[in-house]
């Protein structure tokens, strides 16, 4: 029975990953992170991703508060936040988020406040979506560990 549960979970995980890659939500850099996970660092991916979430939320709050300020004019500062967000997104393979950041940055460089607000909304939406999906992924992986009854490195 445990074997079947493990198989089902593995299928779920692969299906979710395939979906995320196919939709361009994640790119091959995420695969690279998975390759860096092994017995010596069994939670590497979730650790890095959780740092990413923590930092992203701070950045999103900063961006939101900058843009909500009626007297906002500091596009420079916004650009700095965006570059940070873009960089970390790229480092974990959050491809779609990075692409939205690129569009956001373009609007920012044109001092286009309305465009920035729109981009921020898309960004917040994309971020929420990614976070949910990755939590789902990590949950499946945890269940796999439990189903197997022993600790083993997560493999695709």
């Amino acid at each position: 029975m445990l074997g079947l549960a493990a198989d089902r979970l593995r299928a779920d995980m692969n299906r979710l990953l395939a979906f995320l890659f196919h939709q361009g939500i994640l790119d091959e850099q995420f695969l690279q992170l998975q390759q860096l996970q092994d017995e010596s660092s069994p939670n590497f991916v979730s650790e890095v991703v959780n740092i990413y979430f923590h930092e992203s939320e701070k950045l999103l709050r900063s961006l939101r508060s900058l843009l909500m300020d009626r007297e906002f004019s500091d596009y420079n500062r916004m650009g700095i936040h965006l570059n940070q967000f873009m960089g970390s997104s790229s480092s974990i393979g959050a491809n779609r988020i990075r692409n939205v950041c690129v569009a956001f940055r373009a609007a920012s460089e044109q001092n286009n406040r309305a465009g920035c607000l729109r981009a921020l909304e898309v960004l917040e939406h994309e971020y929420c979506f990614l976070k949910n999906k990755l939590h789902e992924l990590f949950q499946i992986q945890q269940q796999r560990v439990l189903a197997a009854g022993v600790r083993y490195p997560m493999q695709n």
Binding site: Q32, S41, F44, S91
Partner: protein, 242 residues
């Protein structure tokens, strides 16, 4: 998991008398100093390096990097590289001191200028790359950094050791400085070396015949990669030696 940006380290105590041998690495492990203001990137580069059997010290700024090296105070206080740093890998865009400024400081130091410095950047800007290479950067990696990037720089790091000794021996000859400069610019990552683990590099004569290998720098081998494969991130200074 430390969430603060700094790194905890203890400055090695200065000892009386010079007790150093350059490139003497008793553990056989290379020690890399990684500099990046992004915590996510620091975690990733740390892991990439560790999994490639490197010892890593990761700091969050150029200032801290200089502090770690002992370069922040009197420039001539240290007579030797007691920390045995074998490579510095730094992000370009950082608040305060940029990676470029850090590169310059390192290259200006008589003690540390021989340490190879690799620049990382998310922006593939040719002017930026050129500027870094001209200032003496060993290589330029476009982020996100992959295992193949680390493998490549590690390979030529080992090669640098042995070349270093060759250079030392032949230094008191003719005007070796010029020759060294020209092949410093050209020799990194020739195709025969980059794919293998350190095989005897002395057999590879450092001739200044240019063989640029742009694809190896980008290493965007995965399908559907958005990396601009046609933009060379590595452009050796060929014009001066042709």
């Amino acid at each position: 998991m430390a969430s603060n940006g700094g790194v905890t380290w203890r400055r090695t105590e200065k000892i009386d008398g010079f007790n150093f041998s350059p490139n003497d690495n008793t553990t056989g492990e290379v020690h890399v100093l990684a500099v990046d203001d992004s915590l996510v990137d620091r975690k990733v580069i740390e892991r990439l390096l560790r999994i490639s059997s490197c010892k890593v010290t990761a700091v969050d700024s150029g200032i801290r990097a200089l502090q770690f090296l002992g370069l922040d105070e009197e420039k001539n206080s240290h007579g030797f590289n007691d920390l045995k740093i074998d490579l510095i890998i730094t992000d370009y865009c950082m608040p305060g001191m940029t990676g470029y400024e850090l590169l310059k400081k390192v290259k200006e130091s008589s003690v540390f200028r021989e340490i190879p410095v690799v620049i990382m950047s998310s922006e593939n800007v040719l002017a930026r790359i050129d500027r870094c290479l001209e200032e003496g950067a060993e290589d330029f990696i476009v982020k996100p950094v992959k295992l193949s990037d680390v493998k490549r720089i590690k390979d030529y790091m080992t090669r640098e050791f042995r070349f270093g000794e060759e250079k030392e021996r032949s230094r008191k000859g003719i005007n070796k400085r010029k020759l060294r400069d020209s092949f410093d610019d050209l020799s990194p990552s020739p195709p025969s070396i980059s794919s293998s683990s350190p095989s005897p590099p002395q057999s590879q004569s450092p001739t200044p015949s240019p063989s640029p290998s742009p694809p190896s720098v980008l290493s965007a081998s995965a399908p559907g990669s958005p990396s601009p494969l046609d933009s060379p991130t590595r452009r050796p200074k060929m014009t001066s030696s042709e």
